[in-house]
């Protein structure tokens, strides 16, 4: 989705242009025409204009190779036309081709990932800011954007009430250094020099002077230069005017904090705006939270208001356990398993309550512990059940169920015919338990399905298999607790001579065990067949799909690909004649 931005005055925006997007950024005036259209290519960008819906075709190409990637572009109303400054340099001047040159809207395509934008008025007095009645407060800043011209040397001064410079930042181009001085009211003068000079003639700069308790911090293009570790005696009353003089052209000058539209994602921007050296930043609700390292102090955390960019230090309480940089869950899974295997039973139970991952790891270990709570529970149930089942059957049942609870690895009730009563027993005994694997036979009858459904609803197991022997189908039900989904699969246990199916077909997935009953009924009707004795069909995978109403699902058959068809027909049907491979020559085959 393209983004439309309102523009009042000059405009600067930054972001990321994707390679070969060729989708233009369109700037329209109040008439709805587009006096400026910028199109990024892989190496440069071009400008054109559109009137009455038609591009004029007066295309001007940027001088320097811009390329794709991160960029910042400033559109300035120059004498000869729109001056497009890209990444600090004047890349293109596009003449005013329409009488109404004033841009009111910008439409930025989605191919441009917009990081930040700002619209602002051209200063009426470039190089001079007056805030005599409201001096620069702590935490506030001055932002000057411009470009050094001709010889290049210039200075920025913060003046006091008497118009005397209290603080000055001066670029001495011939000496290749930036000098800062502070004239204090106690007549002392302090000076520092910066060896790093991120300024050059013809290159746009952003200088931010931030009033902090310990110094006026100077950022040039987002980079903090050497600072005087001292500020005026009355830091909140001292600075009342800004004066920029020298060989410099000013595009923008402002006092902060001030609302800046759009998103600010770059820590450099946040650093420049906040006057801090932001190492990392993130957004929580309407606050930007930044982590900084300043003035050789330990790191601190600040919040910055999204609207005003007012900076506030956040109290951070250091505690020993905050030094934990690696979580228990950062262990490789095999090591985590090893740790859990070492844990005692009560710890394992506690680990089930820590997180979803530890719960799964712990559950694998629950059954390794033969603890009394299981047995007690079993005994409690036993009293109740004695009236329900004959003693011999009950005894046999518990013989099989007890080792299961104690954690015998082969948890099987296979070949044990389960009745409705036994479902009730198992549901009570195993209620809320995690049983890795439980397998038993089920005489497939509909009256067992409801108890089965109730049983499965109470049981937490990772692998439940029910082998229901019927004429056609064997049911295999697999529940997967991890994903909270229940998988059903079915296969023919007694292969009919003319009916075959794959051993496992996932034919239903449902999130709710309650819907299992319906699914089971559907499974009963599920039939898959595969033709025998055709050269290609014998090992062809049978369609594996989710079929709710198989009788109505298939209407046509189509075979495509590199294959020669010898015969095609609908079955099942008896195949006439004798198999072709019968030995007629007497030779051993």
């Amino acid at each position: 989705m393209p983004i439309t931005l309102d523009i009042e005055g000059e405009f600067v925006f930054g972001g990321y242009s994707q390679a070969y997007s060729r989708t233009p950024v369109t700037f329209t005036n109040s008439d709805g025409d587009a006096p400026l259209i910028i199109t990024f290519t892989s190496t440069k960008f071009t400008a054109d204009n559109r009137k009455g819906g038609v591009n004029e075709g007066y295309i001007v190409e940027s001088r320097a190779a811009i390329g794709t990637g991160t960029f910042e572009m400033r559109i300035h109303y120059g004498h000869a036309g729109y001056e497009l400054w890209c990444n600090g340099y004047l890349a293109l001047t596009y003449p005013y081709r329409q009488p109404n040159k004033w841009i009111k809207k910008a439409e930025v395509p989605s191919a441009i990932v917009l990081a930040h934008y700002r619209t602002f008025q051209i200063p009426t007095r470039p190089g001079f800011l007056d805030f005599a009645t409201q001096p620069l407060l702590l935490g506030e800043f001055i932002h000057i954007n411009g470009v050094p011209i001709n010889g290049g040397s210039f200075n920025i001064s913060l003046l006091d009430a008497a118009n005397n410079p209290s603080y000055t930042l001066e670029w001495r181009k011939s000496e290749r250094k930036i000098v800062q001085y502070l004239n204090r009211k106690d007549w002392s003068i302090y000076e520092t020099e910066s060896g790093s000079v991120p300024l050059s003639i013809g290159r746009e700069f952003d200088i931010v002077l931030a009033n902090t308790p310990l110094a006026i911090e100077a950022f040039i293009n987002g980079e903090l230069i050497a600072i005087l570790r001292l500020n005026a005696i009355q830091t909140e009353k001292e600075y009342r005017y800004v004066q920029v003089s020298g060989e410099v052209k000013i595009f923008e000058q402002r006092r902060g904090p001030k609302k800046i539209e759009g998103m600010l994602l770059r820590v450099e921007d946040l650093s420049a705006l906040s006057g801090l050296t932001i190492q990392n930043a993130f957004v929580i609700d309407d606050q930007i939270i930044g982590v900084s390292i300043d003035l050789d102090e330990p790191w601190a955390m600040y919040s910055s208001d999204m609207e005003t960019f007012a900076v506030k230090e956040l109290p951070v309480v250091f505690e020993d356990h905050l030094q934990m940089t690696t979580s228990l869950l950062d262990l490789p899974i095999e090591l985590a398993e090893a740790v859990f295997q070492c844990a005692d039973y009560i710890s394992v139970i506690a680990l089930r309550q820590v997180s979803t991952v530890t719960k799964q790891l712990a559950e694998a270990n629950v059954l390794k512990h033969s603890e009394t709570p299981f047995i007690d529970r079993l005994n409690l149930c036993e009293e109740e059940l004695r009236s329900m089942m004959p003693q011999s059957e009950l005894s046999s049942f518990f013989d099989r169920l007890s080792p299961l609870l104690k954690g015998v690895n082969v948890n099987t009730l296979q070949f044990f015919s389960v009745s409705c009563e036994m479902f009730a027993i198992m549901a009570k005994v195993l209620d809320g338990k995690t049983v890795p694997k439980l397998e038993f036979a089920l005489d497939f009858s509909e009256e067992l399905l409801v108890p089965l459904e109730n049983f499965i609803r109470h049981l937490r197991t990772t692998d439940l298999r029910v082998n229901g022997y019927s004429d056609v189908l064997c049911m295999m039900i697999k529940t997967n607790v991890r994903h909270k989904r229940f998988y059903f699969s079915a296969r023919c246990s007694h292969a009919h001579p003319l009916y075959q199916s794959r051993e496992k077909h996932v034919i239903g997935v449902c999130k709710d065990p309650n819907s299992m009953y319906t699914k089971l009924l559907e499974v009963r009707h599920f039939k898959m067949q595969r033709r025998k004795h055709t050269s290609i069909a014998s090992y062809l995978d049978v369609l594996e799909t989710h079929v709710a109403r198989p009788e109505r699902a298939f209407h046509y058959a189509r075979l495509s690909g590199e294959v020669t068809i010898f015969d095609q027909r609908r079955g099942p049907k008896k195949i006439e004649g004798e198999p072709k491979w019968k030995n007629t020559s007497g030779a051993k085959k």
């Binding site: 934990m324 690696t326 090591l335 090893a338 844990a343 309550q353 979803t356 719960k359 603890e371």
Partner: protein
Amino acid sequence: MVLITLVSSDEQNFPVERELLKQSGTIETLIVNMNLDDEDTDAAAMPIPLPNVKGDVLEKVIQWMEHHKGDPVKEGDNEDNNAEIVVPQWDDDFFKPAMYGSKHLELTVAASYLDIKNLLTLSCKAISNTFKGKTGPQIREEWGVPNEFTPEEEEAIRKENEWSE
């Protein structure tokens, strides 16, 4: 006494007695395969880089190996009942300063990487011992595990485990 130099990921050198390194399956295999035991070859003087182990962790591992010099080295998979292992007093003290910290986890990972089975077992056991007597939320807090459960899920799990408490 033959010394072999181990180089940690932050390029710290640790000259270690050859005998000690027999406890590490990884290094032992490397020494045998690279013929580092043969003093006549240039390979003998070759340091062994361990890019997955930091210097401070490696120092702890060497300290542990020095104390357990001469202990029988476990071979094959561990088939003991790990829940019943008792951590000896010296090892308990050895792990304690690093307890509840990422250092302990790093030590465990290093033991696994270097294939020092005894150290790995004791380290895992020492970690699991810290769970003793703690509730799920306490373990979560101490070991920096994020809580992914919704309040409803938490309540359900609590009820599920109620009977065991």
